[in-house]
């Protein structure tokens, strides 16, 4: 029996409608203790959770997430094994997978969408699938009730931005800077700029990811955005051996900063 977790957009809207800001942590699927880390993140106040499905060539990811990917792939974890793990997980916040197009393509787009749904996974983020190539996947995802989250970047033109926001489901993933995922000392100016540009053209939740590493940066960007995605900072804690407790602590810290406004 699949655990009922609802849609990502509904969960984020509930938070926004209550006057709050959204927090979506990213956790590398298949990493040692990752199921407990997902539980800890949900318990600490995550509104939705992104589960990374490791790919051999993650061009949108920096060294930390690459390293976690490599460690997981070396243990023989597969996309299917991650979906199987998550299906029965006693976590009631919605989840999305974040992976690369070839994983879904090799699985079979339709079969991948159906498998996500069957595992109670509400959404998918494929960072190397721009709007222009989204057609076949989005059709399969829509048919299975899977929300396809699209990315908007600082370089996205005014002409493209409304079309991306229109086609995105769950939320709009606003890329905070020019670059790949990773820890940054300061929030880039581009983070609030892209958030504001998205907010101008859509009513969907707008979350900023890439380059949001700390509670302070999360609160800062959420002055403009509806919330944020935090990935590398969390995976860094897993790589450092902090386990689910360290993930829970960081999520709680960011949650508190967002709630304090």
């Amino acid at each position: 029996m699949t655990v009922e977790r609802g849609s990502i957009e509904a969960a984020l809207r509930a938070r926004i409608d209550g006057g709050g800001k959204c927090l979506v942590p990213y956790i590398t699927g298949g990493f040692e203790g990752y199921l407990d880390a997902i539980r800890a993140a949900a318990h600490a106040g995550a509104d939705a959770i992104e589960i990374g499905v490791p790919f051999s060539d993650p061009v949108m990811d920096g060294p930390v997430i690459q390293k976690a990917n490599e460690l997981v792939l070396a243990t023989g974890v597969t996309p299917q094994s991650i979906l199987d793990d998550v299906r029965d997980l006693d976590v009631h916040v919605p989840m999305a997978v974040m992976t690369y197009y070839n994983i879904a393509y090799r699985f079979g787009l339709e079969r991948f969408a159906k498998s996500l749904h069957a595992s109670g996974i509400a959404g998918a983020i494929l960072p190397d699938m721009p709007l222009d190539e989204a057609g076949p996947w989005a059709e399969a995802a829509d048919a299975s009730g899977v929300e396809t989250v699209l990315l908007a970047a600082p370089t996205t033109t005014d002409e493209r931005l409304p079309r991306i926001c229109e086609r995105s489901r769950g939320f709009v993933y606003a890329v905070g800077l020019l670059g790949v995922t990773g820890l940054r000392d300061d929030l880039a100016d581009s983070a609030t700029v892209i958030a504001a540009r998205c907010k101008e053209v859509t009513d969907k939740p707008v979350l900023v990811g890439v380059g949001v590493s700390t509670a302070g940066q999360a609160a800062q960007v959420s002055q403009v955005a509806d919330g944020c995605v935090v990935g590398t900072a969390i995976v860094r804690r897993l790589l450092d051996g902090g386990g689910p407790e360290a993930v829970g602590e960081l999520v709680a810290e960011i949650r508190a900063a967002l709630d304090a406004g």
Partner: protein, 384 residues
């Protein structure tokens, strides 16, 4: 007809496309637009033609191989891309892209390299145009191509080692794309093969079309006809596409030769890597496999999307050869013609050597895409 322009979305049949992060899409669109504009611009074409002539040394000769022909039992012609400045065909594409990048106001070139030939060519063009240049190279290749690393540094480029994954060409591309994602506003990604997101596979083919155009005219002057077979090695496939493009509308048979350890077409599984949909070496879960061969320049698990299309429609066929066959071919050309080939085109010669019965009585044109200086140390260790 084969080898026409791709669709506006960059599709060659069902292959190609533009699978890159949104951050890079506007840059790809701008590049597409600029390339279309300048490729139709007489001043741009003249400037590129002059560079290819006065700087790179084109046209490259067509050499008839008397002793090799005797040895193999059929007539062999070589298109001598090994005689270009920097020692391979790579300079054609690099001069085209660098001139284009300059027109687009870019100040910095980013490139990946396997054997180092594309890296050296890019570093050369950057020096010529006074541009900043960063070349990514896998750790394994940095070790086996130390001479080219030195050449790139001498030319003023920064060589950055890629330590991830298989630490070869595939990973150098990953790092170059990550760099480009962060620097797209002032940097041009000078991609070295007919791969990547649209418009690269098409644009790089057009910059290498000069190989096929020259060879076709040279063959007609020499033979009064087209050759029966045109062959070239294939990693991503830029030199092959360059020479094939001159003969796509003739009766010549087109044969691409891949290393056995990096034969993407042979396995016939479509996938998406580095921006385009094509044949790709991968496991059952979609994880990309590591290509392994004696030649750093062909150690790539994919193949350009147009090659996948040519294979699909039957206009070209793709063979594979082993490292041992390549080593024998490397020596064969050296001894019979006094030409030391790069290990990459030695793959095509290895197939020619194996297929001598099939090729008896025919005229075969081989694109000798590069010279073997860079491989001398490696081969000295192997041959003793």
């Amino acid at each position: 007809m084969a080898m026409t322009d791709p669709t506006p979305e960059g599709r060659f049949g069902r292959f190609g496309g533009r699978f890159v992060p949104e951050t890079l899409i506007p840059a790809c669109e701008e590049l597409d637009k600029s390339f279309r504009h300048y490729w139709a611009d007489a001043d741009f074409r003249k400037e590129l033609h002059d560079l290819l002539t006065d700087y790179a040394g084109r046209p490259s000769p067509l050499t008839e191989c008397r002793r090799l022909s005797e040895e193999l039992g059929y007539r062999v012609l070589l298109k001598r891309e090994d005689l270009n400045h920097t020692g391979s065909h790579k300079i054609n594409n690099v001069l085209g892209q660098t001139l284009l990048a300059q027109r687009m106001g870019k100040k910095r070139l980013v490139a990946e390299t396997g054997a180092g030939q594309h890296g050296v060519a890019t570093a050369t063009a950057a020096a010529l145009f006074g541009m900043e240049c960063v070349v990514y190279m896998g750790e394994v290749d940095v070790e086996r191509q130390a001479l080219n690393v030195f050449r790139m540094r001498l030319l003023g480029a920064e060589v950055r080692t890629a330590y991830s994954g298989s630490r070869t060409l595939k990973d150098a591309v990953n790092e170059a794309m990550r760099d480009w994602v962060a620097t797209v506003e002032d940097s041009h990604y000078c991609l070295g093969s007919v791969m990547g997101p649209h418009p690269y596979p098409w644009m790089v083919r057009e910059f290498h079309r000069v190989i096929g155009n020259e060879a076709r005219a040279q063959c007609r002057a020499l033979l009064g006809a087209d050759p029966d077979v045109v062959t070239a090695c294939v990693g991503g496939g830029s030199n092959a596409v360059g020479i094939f493009s001159g003969f796509a509308d003739t009766d010549a048979e087109l044969v691409g030769v891949e290393p056995a350890g990096g034969a993407a077409v042979d396995r016939g599984i479509p996938g998406v890597l580095h921006g385009s949909e094509s044949y790709l070496m991968q496991d059952e879960f979609g994880q990309v496999l590591e290509a392994e061969s004696i030649s750093a320049g062909l150690d790539y698990p994919g193949i350009g999307p147009e090659h996948a299309h040519l294979a699909d429609i039957g206009r070209a066929r793709y063979e594979k050869v082993t490292d041992d066959e390549v080593i024998a071919a490397f020596q064969l050309l050296s001894r019979t013609e006094g030409i030391i080939p790069a290990l990459e085109p030695a793959h095509a010669l290895a197939w020619m050597s194996r297929a001598r019965d099939e090729l008896a009585g025919k005229t075969v044109l081989l694109n000798l895409s590069g010279r073997g200086d860079k491989d001398a140390v490696q081969m000295m260790e192997i041959l003793g």
